[in-house]
């Protein structure tokens, strides 16, 4: 780069920084938004169900029914409430006062005691399927524990002859916060990177200042660099802030190295910025740019990145589509670096994918910008 070019770039950069400084909404998007989001999410986003209220209906009291009910009362998963009949319990289920109904029929003790089998009715509200499944799983555990205890009391061999020894790798406490907070960082950086850049450059097109810039001796590369550098800095600053909050406030362990995390974030930031540049070059007005940025970056980062929903469980076609979502690769790196450590077999392929995406987006944005001028 020649001296004149450097000088021009310096001038452009100064203009960018002054603009950012004068309209604090950029700084707010970069720092305030991530912090607020992380606080709200970190506390609010939890898939852990504990003390689930369930309705317990024993239609006819008996010693056996009592021992079953006691197993529920003692379980840490449940907070049981007694109801006199199933209708009443189902009404409570519909009103969402309880999340499940467990009822023992009136002939429970007779059928169960005489060597027969009594059904235990379990009703869950299937509307929230995830919760329904979790409640179902808990009920099953309480039931299996109760069966084993009953068999022990009677001196019979357990009807559950297998001891399942679960081992939760990387997250033994099964804290959904430890799983969700690293993914959130990707979501938040997507906002800063793609959204901010898309908007800023679309604004120049909309106001006509981009054309004005282009008739000067400034080259496209200089214009793009002058946009990339400040927002890259803002985005990385936001990243540092969110990582600090994740580690110190939410106490998510960082088992990998900070260096890996920073390098991966830089790659992702470049891909996100490239996406933003591309959108703005194509959109040329802020309304369209913001719509496209939300639809093409934020929502996919929320739903297609593996941050919430398991990519393996998606239909094959959707799994293929997730490969064009940069956040997907970053989320994989984040989850591994935070919870498992520097697992190179995860980090390297994902980092490579991010690098390729960054190159394609930035390259395409540059080509498109030139073509537009002609």
């Amino acid at each position: 780069m020649s001296g004149g070019s450097l000088g021009r770039l310096r001038g452009l950069l100064r203009k960018e920084f002054v603009q950012i400084w004068r309209d604090p909404s950029s700084i707010a998007i970069a720092f305030l938004l991530p912090a607020v989001l992380l606080l709200l999410f970190g506390y609010g986003v939890s898939l852990d169900a504990a003390n689930v209220p369930v309705a317990l209906v024993t239609q006819q009291p008996s010693a056996l029914a009592e021992s079953f009910a006691a197993a529920f009362d003692q379980s840490a998963y449940f907070q049981s409430r007694r109801y006199l009949n199933v209708q009443e319990a189902e009404r409570a289920l519909d009103a969402r006062e309880v999340q499940g109904v467990v009822w023992l029929p009136s002939d429970f003790a007779r059928r169960a005691g005489s060597g027969g089998q009594s059904p235990i009715g379990v009703i869950v509200n299937g509307v929230d399927t995830n919760n329904a499944r979790i409640v179902e799983g808990y009920v099953q555990q309480v039931w299996a524990g109760w069966l084993a205890a009953e068999a022990r009391k009677a001196g019979r061999p357990s009807p559950m002859p297998i001891a399942v020894e679960p081992q939760m790798r990387f997250n033994p406490a099964v804290s959904s916060r430890d799983f969700l907070v690293p993914g959130l960082i990707a979501l938040i950086m997507t906002l800063t990177g793609a959204l901010l850049t898309a908007l800023v450059i679309a604004r120049e097109w909309e106001r006509g200042t981009m054309e004005a810039l282009m008739v000067t001796r400034v080259t496209i590369r200089e214009i793009m660099l002058s946009k990339l550098i400040p927002y890259f800095a803002l985005g990385m600053g936001g990243m540092a802030a969110t990582v600090a909050i994740a580690m110190f406030l939410f106490e998510v362990p960082l088992r990998g190295s900070l260096l890996t995390l920073t390098a991966a974030s830089a790659l992702f930031m470049l891909a996100a910025l490239g996406m933003g540049l591309l959108i703005s070059t194509f959109a040329r007005n802020q309304f369209v740019a913001s719509q496209v940025a939300i639809m093409a970056t934020f929502l996919p980062a929320l739903i297609l990145s593996g941050f919430l929903f398991d990519i393996n469980s998606m239909p094959r076609v959707v799994q293929i589509i997730t490969n064009i979502v940069a956040a997907r690769f970053f989320v994989a790196i984040l989850q591994s670096t935070f919870l498992a450590g520097d697992v190179w077999s995860v980090i390297l392929p994902n980092a490579l994918a991010l690098a390729i995406m960054a190159t394609i987006f930035l390259g395409a944005a540059r080509l498109l910008a030139r073509k537009r001028l002609d």
């Binding site: 499944r133 799983f179 639809m295 297609l304 929903f309």
Partner: protein
């Protein structure tokens, strides 16, 4: 007066719809999103990559393994020959589950000792991990009961008979698709409304609007009604697609749904107008949209239950219109709820709508003078 408001509404709609790019971002992306998310947003597990390490190849263990292979939930990636491969497979996320059948398995089964089966799950996604454990438990329970019965054990005194109301197969698509109605409607409405005033302010035409004979209330109506209109149409398209394309049952009445939708869109429009009147540029408006929209999605019960949040945050959700509308769409779609049972959801949205519209009107006036 109505004539002039109408003229303003028409002008607003034209401003959004005349430009082919603005027009297409209102129509295409939401439809694409609906399709992709409709298939992607699921908590159902399918094809969980699994490795099995059978240290005790025997009839009993083969039977247990066959039950896993026969389940569509699990997909076998590898039969392991040694325990050394386990860490590598799990670390690299090649498998999410490793099932290890201990070498004492058959012996313990026969002697009545608890026969050990180790289940190693990748906890990086804790929700998936929990669900995997649940599936494993139910397969192992089935196996246990069958084995026990075949080997002369006493049958268990009681069996669980689980029923899921409203969604017997527990398809999470049924849970998420109605929610996407709320999600996309809110995004589109909010953007249309909140950027409209900011755009005029940025280009300077807002001042021109103010010197016309239109009263401020007329301007407010003229800016708000297009948002309500676009939001209602957008929602209708998504409801239709959810019902006919994804075949989610729409069990309740349309009145209950649309009454809720109207209140929701009015409330969102009010919030959009508030943001709009506070912002001087479109960038600021967009910041406002995000500051409101992202928390409102997260604090709505869209993906994670409100009941799992800390109490202070549960209180915070009370001012979020999406929270109420989500209950309405889910209840109307799946539970067949009627309007009378949803009053508890309607009135808070009406209050939020009234307050936000009034606040927007007040903010308008104070920004003008």
């Amino acid at each position: 007066m109505w004539r002039s408001v109408l003229a303003l509404v028409v002008k607003e709609l034209l401003a959004v719809l005349r430009d082919p790019k603005s027009r297409s971002v209102l129509i295409l992306p939401p439809l694409i999103q609906l399709m992709v998310f409709g298939y992607a947003a699921t908590y159902d597990l399918d094809h969980v990559p699994t490795a099995i390490y059978d240290e005790d190849p025997s009839e009993a263990s083969r039977d247990l393994v066959a039950r896993f292979l026969g389940s569509p939930t699990f997909r076998l990636v590898a039969m392991l020959k040694s325990s050394e491969q386990i860490d590598e497979l799990i670390d690299a996320r090649k498998v999410a589950l490793v099932l290890t059948i201990d070498r004492r398995f058959t012996r313990d089964l026969l002697t009545g000792e608890p026969a050990p089966v180790q289940v190693i799950v990748d906890g990086r996604n804790s929700n998936t991990a929990l669900l995997i454990e649940g599936y494993v438990n139910s397969i192992v329970t089935d196996f246990s009961l069958a084995w026990s019965a075949a080997h002369g054990g006493a049958p268990p005194p009681a069996l669980l008979d689980v029923r899921a109301r409203y969604n017997p197969t527990l398809s999470s698509r049924w849970f998420f698709l109605p929610s996407i109605v709320a999600l996309l409607t809110q995004i589109v409405t909010l953007l249309v409304v909140s950027l409209s005033v900011a755009r005029e302010r940025e280009t300077g035409t807002f001042d021109q609007l103010l010197v016309t004979p239109l009263r401020q209330i007329d301007i407010l109506l003229g800016k708000g009604l297009p948002g309500v209109l676009i939001g209602m149409i957008e929602a209708s398209v998504i409801v239709a697609a959810a019902t006919w394309w994804f075949e989610v049952p729409l069990r309740g009445g349309l009145f209950a749904l649309y009454f809720g939708l109207l209140l929701f869109v009015v409330a969102v429009t009010g919030i959009g107008l508030m943001i709009s009147s506070l912002a001087a540029t479109q960038q600021q408006a967009l910041l406002g949209v995000f500051l409101f929209m992202v928390p409102s999605i997260i604090l709505s019960g869209f993906a994670t239950p409100i009941a799992n949040m800390p109490v202070w945050e549960q209180h915070l959700t009370l001012i979020n219109p999406m929270r109420y509308f989500l209950v309405i769409v889910r209840a109307v779609f799946l539970e067949g709820a009627g309007a009378s049972s949803l009053v508890q959801q309607y009135w808070p949205m009406a209050v939020i709508g009234a307050v936000s519209q009034a606040a927007a009107a007040w903010l308008f006036r104070s920004r003008v003078t």
